[in-house]
Symmetry: C2
Subunit: 655 residues, 2 copies
Amino acid sequence: MSLLLALSLICGSMLHVSFSALNNHYCVPRKTVLYQNELKSFREEGIFNYSTMLMRDDLGVLLLGAREAIYALDINNISVRKAVVYWRVTEEKQTECTYKGKHAEVECRNYIRTLHKMNDTTVYVCGTNAFSPTCDYMTFVNGQLRLEGKQEEGKGKCPFDPFQRYSSLMVGNDLYSATSINFLGSEPVVLRSSDLALRTEFKSSWLSEPNFVYMDFVRESLDSPDGDDDKVYLFFSENAMEYDFYSKVAVPRVARVCKGDMGGQRTLQRKWTSFLKARLDCSLPEPSLPPIVQDVFLLKHKDWRKSVFYAVFTPQSSLSQASAVCAYSVSAIQDIFNEGKFKTPVAVETSHVKWVMYTGEVPVPRPGACINNVARKMGMNRSLDLPDKTLQFIRDRPLMDEAVRPLTGGPLLVKRGALLTRIVVDSVLALDGQRHAVMFIGTENGYIQKAVNYHGEMFIIEEIQLYENPVPISTLRISSNKSQLYAGSEYGVVQMPLSNCSRYDTCVDCILARDPYCAWDVTIEQCTSVYSSSSSSKAAIQSLKEGDISQCPQPDPVAAVDFTLVPGNNIQLPCQLHSNLAQVLWRFSDQTLHSNNKYYIYSGGLLILSASESDAGVYTCRLSRADQQQNIQPDCGGLSFTAVCWPRSQGQHYS
Amino acid sequence: MSLLLALSLICGSMLHVSFSALNNHYCVPRKTVLYQNELKSFREEGIFNYSTMLMRDDLGVLLLGAREAIYALDINNISVRKAVVYWRVTEEKQTECTYKGKHAEVECRNYIRTLHKMNDTTVYVCGTNAFSPTCDYMTFVNGQLRLEGKQEEGKGKCPFDPFQRYSSLMVGNDLYSATSINFLGSEPVVLRSSDLALRTEFKSSWLSEPNFVYMDFVRESLDSPDGDDDKVYLFFSENAMEYDFYSKVAVPRVARVCKGDMGGQRTLQRKWTSFLKARLDCSLPEPSLPPIVQDVFLLKHKDWRKSVFYAVFTPQSSLSQASAVCAYSVSAIQDIFNEGKFKTPVAVETSHVKWVMYTGEVPVPRPGACINNVARKMGMNRSLDLPDKTLQFIRDRPLMDEAVRPLTGGPLLVKRGALLTRIVVDSVLALDGQRHAVMFIGTENGYIQKAVNYHGEMFIIEEIQLYENPVPISTLRISSNKSQLYAGSEYGVVQMPLSNCSRYDTCVDCILARDPYCAWDVTIEQCTSVYSSSSSSKAAIQSLKEGDISQCPQPDPVAAVDFTLVPGNNIQLPCQLHSNLAQVLWRFSDQTLHSNNKYYIYSGGLLILSASESDAGVYTCRLSRADQQQNIQPDCGGLSFTAVCWPRSQGQHYS
């Protein structure tokens, strides 16, 4: 029992895993950063559903709507609560709601779903209010949140059901909302609440069991040679009308309306004359039912034509686990709506309707178009002036024939595993003077995937676990000014910096991270933010597209460590990976080791089970760097008999 | 270093995992039997693609077609080769094939694809013969295989492409085949090679890029009150014509022709007048593209109406990994073809065609029907006598409106993970006098899944690894007489017994296995075959539907074992599971242990990493039996301070 034998361990690196093989794995994040307690977060005991956020950079606060509470949190540190106001449901309302068959403690509460800026001090707030949606005005003055108690009717502005997806948007003082207008949630509507309220027709060709996810505004009137109007874009999914299949099929859509729309005079009175919709194409490399849009982010450009919608898609069947991100330029969507063909319904054998491309004559002014110079020349200055022929056409044919194709032809990112839920995008100026769109994507299990697409190559820089338990991320907001991300869920909000360059502790690690926020500062020998003043571009190294580490200084050779072997015991030899893309290769007396009933190879090292005398000797742990294409020499010199690697503490040379 | 402390280990069983939760896991096999070298197998060095089999119980051999070789193997032990004949491609043929752009060493070889019995001594053989399909006659006389060298044209009987799926069948001396008739593989045909050869029309409404998988014969003329004919059934997938979708969609089909069909006189001359097809429905619990049929097995009943086709389906997208088995009764298929409505094409807006239900008048005799008493009464005794109206109708409308529904309304089995490839089914008479259909399903990674469906409950008795490397199983044959299964692959053939009751070493294990082939013999205290003469039903226990182990004798309490703890070392405490459905729960000083950086729980036991003095004490390993619904008391008595479990050797009490 007391016979002690020596065994030892050497580490090195090997470099022959091809890069292309990894792309087939549907984007393995290079680093996995597990949950850390030091992340700034906010939650209040007994309060749930932290799902509605309004960033007020101007006031230095993040307004946060939860169940029966609204908070003003310090935008720099959300764990600092500056103010709170509670908006609880009345006992009467709750009882009424319970009578209608809803769950008292879950559904018959007031979930804050709407927070929109009205002016510098006032915010418009709506809540589900026990299946009786209600809106109010809230002020933030002298560090205090106060509700005015106006109790405006919220039907159509905010959903009845706290768990139904919906979207809304404030443009000027007009509230655009896409939700259900009835208790049962069966009457969908896209509504503008303003002096001249407008809504969609209640026809299944306009909206068929839709699931609304996102709305945004594009100021297209700016520099428009056609005298075009501003637009409100809406993203949703609904039952396909254009397919004929053995089961219901959902399709992702983009729709838009014109800001200046006033409805028709006789036809489409108080209805949108400019509601047009098209299918969104985000085809996966495999045949599948159309993936469904879950969230969208508009990355704005000062030229609105170059603004881009980034959209997250998930499968409509839980048999599949591949999520995707597709990007659509505003100008591509505009082209489809302004110039594309329409679809038209055709009766087949009396009982069937098939939607095919409309090939007949299209009336002038073009159906669904905003009032523009063409219309104005014809003496039509408001949608009220549009002829019945144009209005009837669009009432019966709101769907475009062609789908909107993604900017890059296909998805920017395809990822298997935990589904993606929400997305925000930041535009980062790298050292080479180029801008890169960095995507921060929430998942259903509480992670953020930080990803970029370098010239068609998908790359996930890191995945960061924000929640200890696997809770879905239900809201994401970004502050580019503060370089912070805010992620809401059922159980709280977490704040994280957009980058943490100090996580990359060696030059090689810093370069291979390919993080556009970070560069290796040769002077101070640290991985630092490209925004930090100290790192002038001369002293800083970055290699985003290639991950070229040849400019990094050669690392020191690795010291060796002895282990003592007790026969019959299990020996643990540590060798930690810095990257999920790297692979470990264990060798012992010229043999490559594999996990079996003798050895167990895991992420932290090697276990030798029931060691015997014959196990004594030199063990080497070599890393193959799959995340770099260029070869470098192994870091550990000769195979010293007593060498061992402790990469976590020493290793400037792991990837 | 030499401080030794004691720790010990106790095992027990816990019983609170609900059964329903496991069904959601899409059928976890109860036992996993890993690859064992002692399985009987056959392969010859340098020969590949062991994919064609003909069982000759009468001759005691399994005829096996591979690339350029045909073997006669002992049906009792396939590792015994009784005879072999080689049929190599000529150099001239190979050169010619290479000129046409095919790969000399892969495609330009002779793959034996067809083996059919002609009479007691003669077998009809076809091979791809370097993309120039050729057939021949082979005799097995005096223990010798001999090819006659007739070199018949094999076009339409056997595919050109060795890797294209196809099916064929010998009925009497007529060869029915479903394959491509041209070099490019683009002209599909269902052919009868006989004195009066018949084939399908070359129209996409008959066959659209089909993938043929299976053919079988049903003697429906037997006791037919309508004077109906015998039928040949064909299973395949093809492009859907009835759906209108954003991409091509494949659908699974069953088609049939009548044995007595002679084609039409003017219309459909030398073409089938009885080719009818219908969609096969095998809907998964989730929305998806239609799953695609991969293999079929006809479980014959002496009343052909009760014969059942068992079909394996896999997703048409590799994004999904759920395979399924659906069963269809011959009578259900017959009902659709004999009485169902037809689909008819309707032109929509000139450029589109939509297939809808035909509601007009159907001519008499019914289009696609075999010559039966109705036709005979009208003076039509051969298909040649059928009127043009009937023939034109069926030429333009071969598709039935309704799909064939599975016998049980939905799949018998749904399984995630490695795709299912092939299926055979055995009908087993259990002790209770009932027959159970036991499915043996091959997978793409070299396993056999042995599964039953007990009154709607899916249950996989075991999965058996037949190939050490993950190779797809490409052929399965069963001999119920010999109780043996034969599985072919690219690299060889493996034989396995349909059951191995001795694998269940305790009464509880034998009962919980719910294997209809096995029962616990109380007299000899062994799990034995229900077919073995020794186990009379009185002395034998079986509980297939309930898995009720209350009749089993109480097991002995478990002895305990001491372990010695060396601080800083890793300790391995073994506790092996007998069933994948059981779960293990480790406890130490009133704490439940989980895998983390201190403990590693794996299938063989618990590892304590870098043990310290505080780790000394009593460890218990309890098993929760998820595969039984009835609770029993834990097997290990009190928590003895020095108890330990060695379930593999002692444990009569694990599941």
